[in-house]
Symmetry: C2
């Protein structure tokens, strides 16, 4: 059983979180999902979904996955030293790190993606690259796995990546069956990315 520490902030993108939560949250024997934010309290998504959170400083898990979504909130938070320092500390002890969309744009500020391969939202790709030029940013990718770090493209790619993560961790058949259960056509190929053509960086 692993804890999934979901890091929320105001103006997170709703589906960045609840696409992956749909998958991870249904494997209750494997994952325990918990919502956190820097200061705790209710956090509002860009689509006005309100989620109660605990403070990141209250985490006492030893066996956890760190999950960082994207959204417009990241645009300012890339300059929030307190949050970046906390993410750095948490990431160093995480079993896995998963970011969706511009979650990697926020997470790259920890420096822990330097020298690694990663992707992000394609619409904001030029901005993301400017934040951390020492990351090997992969423009055409639905998601990228480098070591224990998974990063995905924009919003809905987070669902495909999470199924890919389940496939790596629990096996392909289990991931595939989950996609069928939710009547979702899983893009299983992590390099499939039509939106890299739509938004040329």
């Amino acid at each position: 059983m692993k804890d999934v520490i979901i890091v929320l902030f105001n103006d997170f993108e709703t589906l960045d979180v609840f696409g992956p939560v749909e998958i991870l949250g249904s494997f209750k024997e494997h994952f325990k999902l918990e919502y956190y934010s820097l200061e705790g309290g209710n956090i509002l998504s860009s689509q006005n979904v309100s989620i109660a959170t605990k403070k990141l400083s209250e985490i006492n898990s030893k066996d956890y996955i760190l999950f960082v979504p994207g959204g417009m909130g990241t645009r300012e938070l890339v300059n929030d030293v307190k949050l970046i320092n906390k993410l750095t500390e948490l990431a160093k002890n995480a079993k896995y790190i998963i970011t969706v969309c511009t979650g990697s744009s926020l997470f790259c500020k920890t420096g822990l993606l330097d020298g690694k391969r990663a992707t992000s939202n394609k619409k904001a790709f030029a901005w993301t690259k400017s934040l951390a030029p020492n990351v090997s940013w992969v423009q055409k990718a639905r998601w990228v796995k480098d070591g224990n770090i998974y990063t995905s493209s924009g919003v809905s790619a987070g669902i495909d990546m999470t199924l890919g993560f389940i496939s790596d961790l629990l096996g392909y058949e289990i991931a595939k069956q989950k996609s069928i259960d939710i009547e979702y056509e899983w893009k299983e190929d992590s390099s499939y990315d039509p939106f890299s053509e739509v938004y040329k960086a």
Copy 2:
């Protein structure tokens, strides 16, 4: 500006709600989303997402869309006369009714789908048909529109239907652009349904 009355119950399916919310909630100039349940208070999805709700009896909107998700919670709720009566009353004054997955299995108990075309989750299709034999259940459909009632297939089809609803209401270009913004490959054809073959009723 229309209110979107999102009817929650324990064991609703997370993505049934937050897929459509990702779309509807980003058109803030058109829709105001509110979460309700029969008794109010915090409601838990099957994936343990907790959402604060108001009581359905507190609704005083005159211009609203009624939104009913699916999930395992519907299995018992199809016998909840108090909820079915409330849904019937609300549906009669709704501008539009939108159901996702087994949301239609719950909603059909109002009798308001009788003589109309509708679809539902394919895995639970035989059960759904048994609940309301006077509905023209469409087995192969991603979503079905009949008058002001939209019903969709399982979980992720709700996203495609909601984009279809936006297309009908605000125009195709706006719906298409939204799908590109969230890097989602919209299945625009409401009859596209590979899962009707996977789960033969």
